[in-house]
């Protein structure tokens, strides 16, 4: 009688790792001959690798983005302002970058207005009429008082060597009116088109909604020049 060999049996009987042979005897996976068992292992390995690659793809990309923006979680700086120089991919947002540089140029906003991308409410364009769209910045004034951009004492820093105002500190604004109100002030939306090109708006402090208008990096502004530029900023409405 011709003996059936494992090698000639239907393949489907072996990939389960054990089956009943033609003689009705159960065979376990350990009974399988090496070529077949190797094939099973190879197929399983290939499936495992494929699944791993598929799983690692998006996850890996997310990790990259997270790392890319992760630095911003410890050293945050979001920059916006007319002609703001943007040279570091930083920001609090964990959102993915829209471009390889981590920054986008928003043609719908003011000329040369750039920001770290998709930070909610960070760079929404203003309509010509100044209608309130999501986004923008608000400056507070004491109730009943006109809004002012005059810096308080110690609200900016001067480089002791050069005498120029540092880009590290400036007058406070917030990226939403509620933050202003919650601190006891009346909110005034800033007309971003009125921000001089030598100034920038950067996130500062532990409150992610808090920003400061500071000299743009690389500018050389004396304190009185900085104050004069601040006075050119207008609010809407």
């Amino acid at each position: 009688m011709r003996r059936s060999s494992a090698w000639t049996r239907p393949r489907t009987r072996w990939i389960t790792g054990g089956s009943t042979d033609v003689r009705g005897h159960h065979q376990s996976a350990s009974d399988l001959r090496p070529p077949v068992w190797s094939a099973v292992v190879l197929v399983a390995f290939a499936v495992w690798i494929s699944l791993g690659v598929l799983a690692a793809g998006p996850a890996g990309a997310a990790t990259t983005r997270s790392h890319h923006y992760g630095a911003a979680d410890t050293g945050t700086q979001q920059i916006v302002g007319a002609a703001a120089r943007v040279d570091r991919p930083v920001g609090r947002s964990a959102a993915p970058p829209a471009a390889a540089s981590g920054y986008v140029y928003d043609d719908t906003a003011q000329p040369a207005l750039r920001s770290a991308p998709p930070v909610a409410g960070f760079l929404a364009p203003q309509t010509p009429g100044g209608e309130c769209e999501p986004g923008g910045f608000w400056r507070g004034s004491r109730p009943g008082q006109p809004v002012s951009f005059e810096p308080m004492p110690n609200e900016y820093r001067v480089d002791a060597t050069t005498g120029f105002v540092k880009p590290t500190h400036g007058v406070s604004v917030f990226d939403n009116p509620e933050s202003v109100v919650s601190k006891g002030f009346e909110p005034h939306r800033i007309d971003l088109t009125s921000i001089p090109s030598d100034l920038q708006i950067i996130q500062r402090g532990n409150d992610p909604h808090h920003y400061e208008i500071t000299p743009r990096s690389g500018t050389s502004l004396l304190p009185e020049e900085y104050a004069a530029l601040l006075r050119r900023i207008r609010t809407l409405g």
Binding site: M152, T161, R204, G205, H209, H210, G218
Partner: protein, 102 residues
């Protein structure tokens, strides 16, 4: 030997009471401490929230001048009146050692 806490006066920025929330959001404030008695001195302290301090250090190193050097930096959990007062009291118990007088 226990050190006597020197008498001191803590001065907050002008309008700090109304602007406290703003300074807390900023994450820093500059206060003045005037110590009286035999160790009379005057100190200007920069009170920082850790996040703000890290931001300023980063910007200073990257964009200003490759070094961050600021005297009398005091780091607290929040730049509020209570936290500042507590921090200065701790410094007072230490005799304000390590701080640079003006």
């Amino acid at each position: 030997m226990a050190m006597d806490t020197p008498a001191y006066t803590l001065r907050f920025p002008k309008d700090y009471d109304t602007d406290e929330e703003i300074w807390k959001a900023k994450g820093y404030a500059v206060v003045e401490v005037e110590v009286s008695g035999p160790v009379a001195a005057r100190y200007s302290l920069t009170i920082y929230h850790p996040v703000r301090l890290a931001q300023d250090i980063e910007t200073e190193l990257a964009e200003v001048g490759a070094v961050f050097a600021e005297p009398n930096v005091v780091v607290v959990t929040a730049v509020g009146r209570d936290e500042i007062e507590q921090a200065v009291e701790v410094l007072a118990r230490r005799g304000f050692r390590g701080l640079a007088p003006e």
